[in-house]
Amino acid sequence: MEKLLDVRDLRTYFYTYRGVVKALNGVYLTIKDGEVVGLVGETGSGKSVTARSIMRLIDPPGRIVGGNVFFEGRDLLKLSDGEMMKIRGRKISMIFQEPVIALNPVLTIRTQIIETIMANRDVSVNEAEEIALELLEAVGLPNPKMIMKRYPFELSGGMAQRVFIAMAISANPRLLIADEPTSSLDVTIQAQILDLLNRLMEEGRISSMLYITHDLGVAAELCHRIAVMYGGRVIEFASTEEIFKEPLHPYTRSLLKAIPRLGYYDELYTIPGRVPDLVNPPSGCMFHPRCPYMKDVCKKEIPEYVEIDNSHYVACHFAGVKDVR
């Protein structure tokens, strides 16, 4: 399979009054055509910033300071604003964590969905209206005509997310970036939205997807491969199977232990320590203050991101060394 998306050494900084927040410190990530990749990490690890950097939606004081984002062979970071606009919505689209606030509060659903369709497809208003109704039906919303007349605040979170998904897939994009699309929703609704995404993939309405979540369990259900982020880097990237069977990075292993399992309510494992401060990050490997296997070298040198096994990438000084565990 060819690489649809190839992110290399992506760096995004935020220039705040507190200092420079190095939100992304060299992210590597690939997505093949037709593949679902999970991007997993704690809050503040840089998942959302990665998504927004790929879409080039970083607002000041943030800035993408380096790296490449190859999409279909072209570097998105080198496109003009006008060219990038044509990528968004048509080739890559995005759904958001809080669908209700991602919809404009003073415009009806009809306005918002039709403007999206017309921005990305060469159709008349009437055709757009028909497409809109069809899409709303496809995302499982009953009575699309009613929904069209509503304002966002009149929708539940789950309904709003369905509307948003309908807009995101309206131009049959090649890549859908889903930025924690279920974390603001109730558990039952979460499952429904995941089902919906699965169904839309089967129907071919979604081809490839970057699915961002802090929940390794959700990622496991949905994704072919999983990238684990920590401190603004991808620190491990492998097939879902390998991540679960043979995790190489100590952080990934801690994350796996933290997944609540059915029947294990007594003791939930939490990772000791705190997410690194990205203004004054720890020296060397950013995980070293929390790492149970920390050695001197971890404090001094930043581990490189390397391919250990076949397509199993990891950034840890001791990833190849089995006995350290």
């Binding site: 927004r52 879409m55 939606l57 607002d59 000041p60 604003d81 606009m85 044509k86 990528i87 968004r88 919505g89 048509r90 689209s93 995005m94 958001f96 809080e98 606030i101 991602a102 919809l103 404009n104 509060p105 003073v106 415009l107 306005t111 403007e115 999206t116 921005a119 990305n120 304002y151 605040f153 009149e154 948003f164 807009m167 995101a168 131009a171």
Partner: protein, 337 residues
Amino acid sequence: MNIAAYIIRRIIFMLFVLLGVLIITFIVSHVIPADPIGAILGPQAPPELIEKINREWGFDKPLYVQFILYVKNLMHGNLGKCIRTNNPVLKDIIIRYPATIELATTALIFSLIIGIPSGIISALKRNKLIDHFIRIFSISGLSMPVFWLGLMLLYVFYFRLGILPGPGRLDLGLTPPPRVTGLYTIDSLIAGRLDLFINTLRHLIMPGFVLGFGAAGSIARLTRASMLEVMRQEYVKAARAKGLIERVVIMRHILRNALITPVTVIGLIYGGLLEGSVLTETIFAWPGLGRYATGVFLFLDFQAVMGVTLFIAIIYSFANLIVDIIYAYIDPRIRYG
């Protein structure tokens, strides 16, 4: 809640505030001055006159009786008599308020025309040179002594360059159009006198600009802040992510939401303009309420003081009420919420 109930609730609240205003004005004009009659009539007033006025106005009665008397008269539309002009206060006000309304409205138009685009540009070009420039301009608006600005503009544009007319609503020697609304701009058009219309419009430029300058600054700041707030919102990012062109993102998604805040304060700003007319009218010899107010205040002409203050407070409150209704119309969350 439906819109009618909302309006009724607002009107009830307004009545409470007006009652408060009445009480405070009453205290200021009747309690604080040691010798109100003396202040009006001067120290040499004959005792019989003082006696007569005392009886006429009920000053010999306890304060609360005076207050109740005043409110009673008010209910009958009797605001008392202005001692300086010897007219009923209500008549004085009615003669003068159209001039002030005309001036304040001109100022509001100026301030919106200058303020809103400045605020928008400032936000879109945040931290660029033009943003700094506009911010200094808008803060100058808040820091501007209007009486000084008026004098300086008069000096430059009237006395030196002679391109704008001097004080007053019309050139000296011109007769005002027959009164219909009291607004010279509209009355002159009704009378079919284009020359008067243009003349009075030219007279409005300088005082309107002077009065509107500060408000323009406030509006620019508010618009800028509101724009920046909206630009941070998730739905703006989402609009870009959907592939909308930048112009649509700005016009449909940012502006429409960002302009809600400036619209809501137009009422407050209009009230501020009515109030600011006190100084501007003094400079430009504008025969409106502001100049009348200064006169009656300085002479402690309490019936007139209370009448004018109440009148301004009523307009002020109404302006706010109207804006709240507009607000409810623009923002669907209010309408249904």
